[in-house]
Amino acid sequence: MNALSGKAAITGIGATEFSKNSGRSELRLAVEATLAALADAGIDPEEVDGLSTYTMDNNPEIELFRNIGGRDLKFFSRIHYGGGAACAPIMHAAMAVATGVAEVVVCYRAMNERSQYRFGAGFAPDATPTAEIAHYGYYVPFGLMSPASWVAMSARRYMHEYGVTSEDFGRIAVGFRDFAATNPNAWFYQQPITLEQHQASRWIVEPLHLLDCCQESDGAVAVVVTSAERARKLRQPPVIINAAAQGACDDQQMMTSYYRPDVARLSEMDLVANQLYAMAGLGPDDIQAAILYDHFSPFVLPQIEAFGFAPQGQAADFVREGNIARGGRLPVNTNGGQLGEAYIHGLNGVAEGVRLVRGQSVNQPGDCRNVVVTAGTGVPTSGLILTAG
């Protein structure tokens, strides 16, 4: 038996509203979401002894901690690669809890990513000659300077290899927006789209239309992790962290893994999926629903393949058959995803995974015993299998 599997649980989730202009500081958003998650769990803020977030969050752990009235912070970690780390704080929290380093760990992500800065506005690296900045030198001088553009290069190759079209990407967006349309917390509540609207939306970076791209959002999400044992005594149904994994491999680059033999694969997600299934002792047939990271719709397809829901190169057929949509075999992103609900860098997907296992999603597809949750794609990534317990 794996030493981590089943040891910890998510016992509380909290969020602010999702908007385009929160009107308050990112730190305040973090505090609000954290307090909401602790209230959901029924745990006093004074009990928090661990915090975990990921890079690109601007809220220092110690600032959040003092503003929630924390006492003794014994564990804090911040995981690299932005949205690729969206599931990793849960893993780090579970490891801290499983080893006794901490008892109550809050994972958080808070941002005014629309009103204060925009990831989609293009990346202008500063001139500091670090390895991380040097990386951008191979792209930005040629105008390849946005997350959409970095993903689009791989997406075009995927299209070429498997005969996939923009409409195949569009069906993904249409399905997620359908879920968002019935989620009152989604920015695009009551605003479904058609495939024709997807096709008519303007180009951002060919082959990506506007409606292939996630939103830019203000908001915060927090998740409380404690031991599975304690979670079973608290007010919410326990959501067991059955498996948690990180992954980077196969000549990994930051969104530009253009040099590996097969650019149409997400090798790092293959690595995460294999670890998750091995850790949980489960396979694709055991999963009832999934939250698949959707900063851009094309990368949903290789994720479906990484987790074995469809064979290599056949994810578009899986989508076309309606499997990931409402009523399908594997409903995906029942909150509307980051295309439909909000772009909170993936942590809102973790919260929806928790709701699915609890049976509390507004688009609950039925009983979800095991749910896969993934983090940012095209970057070093992470994932979870959450299980009813």
Binding site: A131, I133, G137, P141, L144, S146, I204, V205, E206, Y258
Partner: protein, 320 residues
């Protein structure tokens, strides 16, 4: 070299000759057009539109703003550009030789008298000078100077104008000519960060060589550059010069966001070199509609700013 000097010689034969056909204004000087021009330019002096104000200054009626001198004779607007007979042949020489960029660099006007309602202006234009080849921020080019003499309906002189343009070879296929020379510095082209690990790569490009890093121990080629060999952990490396032959592996076309230094839509290519490594670069003479994965490409270098070279790829020459 012969081509360049030949172009220069041919262009200079135009000096002293008429730059184009003598041209007469399509309309006589009139207040309605003056009013529109003043509104557009923010000109508020009443003597240009108001008879009383003009008379108070000793004029018989409203006068044309002096700076409108050439406006009266401007060719009609044609979507898609001028007709061939409206062109300036000496400038066409440069277009045909690939100096397709144009930017006005100097306009100097002298006025002999105020134009009044009913005047009809004509001009003759003489090529005054063609400069030697100059290296500018926009690209390599020549300055062409044309002198205009303006006369009225009686043949009497009313003013003259010196007009100088730069005809240049755009540095990058997708580089849009800024409106002025100084605009190039406001938005510098993005530059790479130079580290101990990649300096050889960018230095090679500055010398028009695309250098692929090669492990000195096992011979493995790698890109982007790094200090260690992923195959054998050796820190010893050398470089091999890329042949320049490659094929298109993938591509995108940028629409948003937009940086002032690029022209959009902007294709960006992922090229697989025949040596086996891949690199990202822009196309040269390669519009998005021509891109097909697998198409053969060949390396060239583009000077995006004076002294700043980047690799680019153009379609492979047939039979090459």
């Amino acid at each position: 070299m012969n081509d360049v000097s030949d172009l220069y010689t041919r262009a200079r034969t135009w000096i002293g000759k008429e730059a184009g056909k003598p041209t007469m204004a399509r309309d006589v000087v009139n207040v309605p057009m003056i009013r529109r021009w003043c509104e557009a330019m923010g000109e508020e002096n009443p003597i240009y539109v108001d008879a009383e104000a003009a008379q108070a200054e000793g004029f018989p009626g409203p006068v044309s703003p002096p700076a409108m001198l050439e406006v009266w004779t401007m060719a009609r607007y044609r979507p898609g550009g001028r007709l061939p007979e409206e062109g300036i042949p000496v400038l066409n020489l440069f277009d045909e030789a690939g100096y397709t960029g144009v930017v006005a660099t100097n306009i100097e006007q002298e006025y002999d008298r105020y134009l009044v309602e009913g005047d009809r202006v004509s001009y003759t234009a003489i090529v005054d000078d063609v400069s030697e080849e100059k290296r500018t921020g926009l690209g390599i080019g020549h300055f062409i100077t044309i002198r205009y003499e303006f006369t009225d309906q009686n043949g009497g002189p009313v003013g003259r104008m010196l007009f100088r343009v730069l005809k240049f070879k755009p540095n990058l296929a997708q580089a849009k000519a800024p409106a002025t020379e100084s605009a190039g510095n406001e938005f510098p082209h993005p530059r790479p960060a130079i580290t101990h690990d990649n300096a050889h790569y960018w230095e090679g490009i500055a010398k028009r060589e695309l250098l692929i890093q090669k492990c000195s121990d096992c011979g493995h080629l790698r890109h982007p550059p790094g200090p260690g060999c992923p195959q054998c952990q050796s820190l010893e490396w050398e470089t091999v010069k890329a042949s320049g032959k490659g094929t298109l592996y993938s591509h995108v076309t940028m629409h948003h966001p937009r940086l002032p230094t690029f022209d959009y839509p902007l294709p960006v290519l992922l090229v697989e070199l025949e040596e086996g490594v891949r690199i990202v670069a822009n196309g040269i003479d390669l519009p998005a509609s021509d891109l097909t994965i697998g198409m053969p490409l060949e390396l060239d270098f583009v000077e995006v700013e004076p002294g700043y070279l980047l690799p680019g790829f153009r379609p492979a020459r047939t039979g090459g």
